[in-house]
């Protein structure tokens, strides 16, 4: 698409000063963008950057705190979603629940119905139109089947079909490629391009530039609710701030070579593990190993499969393949026993007991220890995270995000783990907190022999302490190596 051709026409959608606050948290801050017909704009940002919230605010699913959303000259900000949709918006959801007792065709029909209470008989014309749409998105051969019998990619097609059913001017797409195989990604790219070629304005939300670079005309990169830069994909990828957000600046690394770990058989071995959520494959033949005392980072974007990998190791999910610890297979052992035996996970969502005090949360973690031992462990922990000592009597839910994360890690450490699994500890935290966490991890590594398995999309945070790095992408391990080689060999995928 020729960028200059579109800029002469007035934009179909103009967003000005869009702000969305949830309580004290500002998820989207003063965002502005123009979207022309026949254009694809990518809204890019790491997890927690506010891109999805921005999209929902435009669509009216979340009511904007302030700002304008001007569609063809009319400000629609603050209208409910159904009114905005009727103006000419369609949204492709990442997750959906189709009507399982109705056929694919009937599901598409629903999207075509008027918002009326008196539509009692199906309209022949609508059926024809629904058939046309089904063929249009490649569901022609399965339109009489019911959604539960369809493969994952077809369910995503159904979402596309519903979104474009009423011929919207603006199409919003949330993570178009999540859960799709490479071949399917190509087909879906073509479909989305065809929406553009029909003159629609398309707004894509995704985590990184790379995955949508070939598809978008322009990219708007966001971080912590604000725009960093807008431009062509290659310009954005070259932008210094973008690089720093995704890759960090100069990263100091302190890797120990794998050969320096003396155990002949690694402490933890994950071998050819595959996991499915219904039809979507979340892990595909993943193999990793971790030596005793080693610090291993698993780097991957949101949705790559990190959390699934950790939950599988912790025994929460059914899987094929083997997970072996110290030569013993973990299959069939309950999550509680796995945790007790020293593989302790600090989950992404933290899962603190919000209405208990900091001290009570920690005591629960150290519940199996003798009083004396628990005191010693607590003293050690308070040295690692001094702020927790000050906050002992405070309810966990009243802590700041960074403090909550420290408490979550602290509670995990109270269980005296042999292997500590940290799932995205940096999620949604401000840079200054990251530094504190980072220092704590450095101390943990230097002063204890705890083996750490860290999952991160924030490369800056994941690399400095790592001895070894795995890159997880689309459910597969695509790279393994020491952090020094990461930027050169695998870094490009992170922009």
């Amino acid at each position: 698409m020729d960028a200059t051709a579109t800029t002469n026409n007035p934009p179909v959608l103009e967003v000005r000063g869009l702000t969305k606050r949830f309580g004290g948290l500002t998820a989207v801050k003063n965002l502005g963008l123009d979207l022309h017909g026949g254009e694809i704009l990518g809204l890019i940002g790491p997890n927690g950057s506010g891109k999805s919230t921005a999209m929902k605010a435009i669509m009216g699913i979340e009511r904007p705190t302030s700002g304008d959303v001007v569609f063809q000259g009319e400000n629609v900000a603050g209208l409910p979603a159904h009114k905005i949709a009727r103006r000419g918006f369609g949204m492709v959801f990442q997750h959906s629940r189709p009507l399982n007792r109705q056929t694919v065709l009937e599901n598409i029909m629903v999207a075509l119905l008027p918002d009326s209470l008196f539509m009692l008989l199906p309209d022949k014309a609508l059926t024809e139109r629904a058939k046309w749409i089904a063929n249009r998105v490649g569901l022609g051969s399965v339109m009489d089947r019911r959604p539960p019998t369809l493969p994952f990619a077809d369910l995503r097609r159904l979402e596309l079909a519903k979104a474009i059913a009423r011929d919207p001017k603006v199409v919003l797409v949330d993570e178009p490629f999540a859960g799709l195989t490479l071949a399917e990604v190509a087909t879906f790219s073509e479909l989305i391009k065809s929406f553009r070629d029909e003159g629609r304005a398309v707004l894509l939300v995704d985590h990184n530039v790379k995955s949508v670079a070939a598809l978008v005309d322009r990219v708007l990169a966001m971080y912590l609710g604000e725009e960093i830069v807008t431009g062509r994909a290659d310009e954005v990828m070259r932008n210094e701030t973008v690089r720093r957000v995704y890759l960090g600046g100069a990263i100091e690394i302190s890797a120990r070579p794998e050969a320096s770990f003396k155990d002949k058989v690694p402490l933890l071995q994950v071998e050819n593990v595959s996991v499915f959520y219904g039809k979507a494959q979340a892990l595909e033949n993943v193999s990793i190993h971790v030596h005793h005392g080693e610090f291993v980072s698993v780097v991957g974007l949101n949705g790559a499969g990190k959390t699934t990998l950790f939950n599988t190791i912790s025994g929460f999910l059914p899987y094929s393949g083997d997970i072996v610890r110290d030569g013993a297979n973990l299959r069939g052992i309950s999550p509680a026993r796995i945790a007790r035996s020293g593989i302790v996970q600090c989950p992404e969502s933290r899962e603190l007991f919000g209405e208990m005090t900091v001290r009570e949360n920690l005591d629960l973690g150290g519940q199996h220890l003798s009083d004396e031992e628990r005191e010693r462990q607590l003293a050690w922990l308070f040295e690692l995270f001094p702020i927790l000592k000050e906050r002992q009597g405070q309810m966990a839910q009243t802590l700041s995000g960074g403090e909550q994360q420290m408490l979550a890690i602290g509670r995990a450490l109270m269980m005296q783990p042999k292997i500590l699994i940290l799932d995205e500890p940096t999620l949604g935290l401000a840079p200054v907190i990251l530094e504190t966490l980072s220092k704590a991890l450095a101390r943990l590594r230097q002063t204890t022999d705890i083996t750490v398995l860290l999952g991160e999309q924030n490369v800056t945070f994941a690399l400095p302490h790592a001895d070894r790095v795995y890159v997880l992408e689309h459910a597969r391990i695509i790279w393994e190596g020491d952090p020094g080689r990461f930027a050169a060999e695998a870094g490009a995928g992170y922009l």
Binding site: M59, G60, I61, P80, A81, H82, A85, R86, F89, G90, M91, F93, S96, R97, L99, R101, Q102, E106, M109, V110, A111, L113, D115, S116, L117, F118, M119, L120, L121, P122, D123, R146, K162, A165, R166
Partner: protein
């Protein structure tokens, strides 16, 4: 929709109605009386399924709607001696109005709070009946001077006809385009909104329809009983029975709800010789069905046919 007339479900339903219509020729008045009540109950359960199965809203207070309809009809007849039919219509309308008054604020709250609001409404109604005993007959119950007819056969056919017509309307509605939108709103409200559907409007409409049939059935029931009492049309336990019937018969099937209601009442009566144990056995069966066949009687059958 057109496919329905060729489906097994249609033939089964048709056969069931025909057989049911001939029952007065060879069963006792006692059985007929039992089934008459069961049919009215069937309408309660179908009306409830429209809300739970399609709008996705758990109404813990079906007896609020039923009770308002029943008592309004009963009181009007008792106080003013208005004609039975007028009272029945007014009862149904009162139920609709009460439903709107309840649903408008309640649909604004999310998740379990809707259910809790409806539960509180039942308790309020129950209290009202007890406190304003002069008007309502209080705990003793309200005597209703008129009846539609005293002939057991006629009463039975009225109930069967009413249930059949209600079933046709409610099932037809559930399978119509409006029903699909309602189902989509119940299943994924965010997406239904983004597809351009005013969810509150559709759910409110469902509530009104549900209230209308609940109230109508409640009013008919009191004119059959000749009395209205908290224990028969308002009590929480009655509401629980309606819910169990609908879930037992199969969520989102409408017709299954009627089946469940008939089963509950007939089975309860069959087991009467076991005394207090009857309720226990019926509850246990209901629990097993819910645990092992969450689709209910008809849900399981339909999913086979759907393949």
């Amino acid at each position: 929709m057109a496919g329905f007339f060729k489906s097994k479900l249609f033939f089964f339903s048709l056969a069931a109605v025909i057989i049911a219509a001939t029952l007065p020729f060879y069963v006792s008045g006692y059985v007929l009386g039992l089934l008459t009540v069961a049919y009215y109950f069937g309408v309660f359960a179908m009306a409830w399924d429209l809300l739970f199965g399609f709008a996705g809203e758990v109404n813990f207070g079906p007896t609020f709607l039923i009770g308002v309809g029943a008592y309004t009809a009963g009181i009007l007849n008792n106080q003013y001696g208005w004609s039975v039919y007028l009272c029945i219509v007014l009862g149904a309308l009162a139920s609709v109005i009460a439903g709107v008054v309840l649903a408008l604020p309640a649909l604004r709250v999310r998740g379990p709070y809707f259910g809790l609001t409806t539960l509180v409404a039942v308790l309020m109604l129950q209290n009202f009946v007890v406190v304003f005993a002069e008007l309502t007959g209080g705990e003793i119950g309200l005597t209703i001077p008129d009846v539609i007819t005293i002939a057991a056969n006629a009463n039975y056919w009225i109930a069967l006809g009413f249930m059949t017509i209600s079933a046709i309307i409610l099932y037809g509605l559930s399978q119509s385009p409006v029903g699909l939108v309602l189902q989509a709103s119940g299943q994924d409200p965010v997406q239904a909104g983004a597809l351009g559907f005013n969810i509150v409007k559709h759910k409110l409409a469902a509530f009104i329809v549900s209230a209308f049939f609940s109230g109508l059935s409640g009013a008919l029931l009191v004119f059959y009983f000749g009395t209205a009492s908290v224990g028969t049309v308002v009590d929480i336990a009655v509401g629980v029975n309606v819910i169990v019937a609908a879930v037992l018969g199969g969520r989102r099937t409408v017709l299954g709800a009627a089946l469940g209601a008939i089963f509950l009442i007939v089975a309860g009566e069959f087991l009467r010789p076991t005394g207090e144990l009857a309720t226990f056995i019926v509850s246990a069966v209901a629990l097993l069905v819910v645990l092992f066949f969450p689709g209910g009687f008809l849900g399981a059958a339909l999913s086979h046919e759907g393949r």
